[in-house]
Amino acid sequence: MFIKAKNLNLETPKTKGFWLSVFGRLSKNKLAMTSAFIILALTILCICVPIFSSVAYDKTNWGEIMQSPSSGHLFGTDSLGRDLFVRCFIGGRITFGIAFAAAFVVLLVGIFYGAIAGYIGGRVDTIMMRIVDVLYGIPFLFFCILLITLFGNSMALSFIAIAAISWLDMSRIVRGQTLSIKHKEYVEAAMISGVSNFKIISRHVIPNLLGVVIVYAALTVPNMIVLSAVLSFFGLGVTEPMTSWGLLIADGSQNMQAWWLLLFPASLMIITLLSFAFLANGLRDALDPR
């Protein structure tokens, strides 16, 4: 008992120190911090702009069709006279919503699947990873389209379909990580001294997975943004009058004469995707200093 208590005392400040130093390193990375700030700002704008704006996102106005950007309509208006500024941010809300929700499901499924396969090992591991191999053989986009066609074109279902087949990478990464952690001396020591499986997983395996998971989460969200946007080009996913960045870009590329219809949603998307890329890079460097 005494030894265990002492161990705990040693352990707690050490893990705290690790995350503090990670944050310290991250906060020194200007690019990553700026990116994080941009993502935060965009998220807040997506939440607030539709609430506080004077025009609704689906308010058509036949008197103001295809207006170029002006002080009245910052981003101009579309072919139905709807304000693009509001539409960009309500679309951002949908895009972010789908992406974050899908990423959450992906992480959850991926971590559980990978950790179980890696920790149990043996035949279970072989079978579980064979299933992953098979799913890897299917071109992702086609499979997504197949699922959405089968289960109907609703937003909730399309995000489930997206999440259902995006966890493959995550599960592989987590499995590999779990395998290597399982054979670390401190886990073996814990096993020998009779610590329960549950405690080993919650104390040693999951905290050590957290780094990988955080980096991968920062990579999964933009992937989900892109995928949900690509689906819009195939007429799947969000439908009018609701919108998403993918749908806005698809619309914009139909109406090239009105450049603002393409340029604003596309720029928002580029800014977001790059921010996530830099943030993920920064997180990776901060978590794994070499």
Binding site: I145, I249, M256
Partner: protein, 310 residues
């Protein structure tokens, strides 16, 4: 080598079979039939349709017959264009369907691979130069920003504003019509190849046998072309298998942007009309190609890597 090749092919057959089975049962176990949504059909018309598509048979019989069709290279009948075989839509006699997608993918890869390798090698040899930094940041940008954003922007700049290229369409497959879509695809994939090549050449150049070669006083050219290039290419080659499959899918997306008459149109039509047979066919075709490319790349890898050859 031949033994390995045969083994590699045999191993991938169950994978393909598993994919086909998964797709088939996913489609056929979902409640409702594909003719639900259409205008009300009379009971008899529905019955004859069901018979035409074998939907009246027990599921396992349908499955066996579908497999049998696939072995004979027959993807079945389209549910949208009644009576038309999917093969004639996927592989038409004139330019269209899969041929368009395949052509774009081949053009893309045959430019992206050499350019990617050259840029990557040059960047790796001049680490931390401005050129190197450009390759690295180009990789970050084009990995993050997909063709569905760069594509429409390219159309806006080069077709609508500058009027240098047509905004879309196949034309007769001429240079002007295919330039933008292929360049957009190249931009999406060449940076990744360059980045991997850069990393691997940096690693190879810092390895022991290169140091030995330098110490022996071999000229730089000999070191580079005789000793460094081959091992440095290996990671790039193992990247190409999954990448070609990715390019095929990327080409489908690009077709949507540039309104090319390839697999993209077929996919959209199939998705909006719930043409299950067509989507199944496209998914299975894509999976088969993915698996085939992975086999080819694995074999190429063995040819180049003396460590595995023995």
């Amino acid at each position: 080598m031949i033994k390995f090749a045969i083994k590699r092919i045999l191993v991938s057959i169950p994978t393909l079979l598993a994919i086909i089975t998964l797709v088939f049962f996913l489609v056929h176990m979902t409640p409702g039939n594909p003719f639900d949504g259409e205008r009300a059909l009379s009971a008899e018309a529905l019955k004859s349709l069901m018979a035409q598509y074998r939907l009246d048979l027990p599921l396992w019989q349908q499955y066996i017959m579908y497999l049998n069709d696939l072995i004979h290279g027959n993807f079945g009948i389209s549910m949208k264009y009644l009576g038309q075989s999917i093969n004639s839509l996927l592989f038409p006699d004139n330019m269209g369907g899969f041929w368009v997608t395949l052509r774009i993918s081949i053009y893309t890869m045959s430019v992206a691979v050499p350019i990617g390798i050259l840029l990557g090698a040059y960047a790796g040899l001049h680490k931390n130069s401005w050129f190197d930094k450009m390759v690295v940041s180009g990789n970050i940008f084009f990995t993050a920003v997909p063709t569905m954003v760069t594509g429409p922007l390219a159309v806006l700049i080069f077709a609508v504003t500058l009027r240098v290229f047509p905004a879309g369409g196949w034309g007769d497959g001429d240079f002007m019509h295919l330039f933008l879509p292929v360049v957009v695809l190249i931009l999406a994939y060449a940076p990744t190849i360059a980045f991997v090549m850069r990393g691997s050449i940096i690693e190879v150049l810092s390895s022991n046998y290169i140091r030995t070669a330098k110490a022996k006083g071999l000229p730089t050219k000999t070191i580079l072309f005789k000793h460094a290039i081959k091992p440095a290419l290996l990671p790039v080659i193992s990247l190409l298998g999954p990448m070609f499959a990715g390019v095929l899918v990327g080409a489908v997306v690009t077709e949507q942007i540039f309104t090319l008459p390839g697999l993209g149109v077929l996919t959209t039509n199939a998705a909006t009309n719930r043409d299950y047979n067509m989507i199944m066919a496209i998914t299975i075709l894509g999976s088969t190609l993915t698996i085939v490319f992975n086999i080819i790349v694995d074999l190429l890898y063995i040819l180049l890597d003396p460590k595995i050859k023995q």
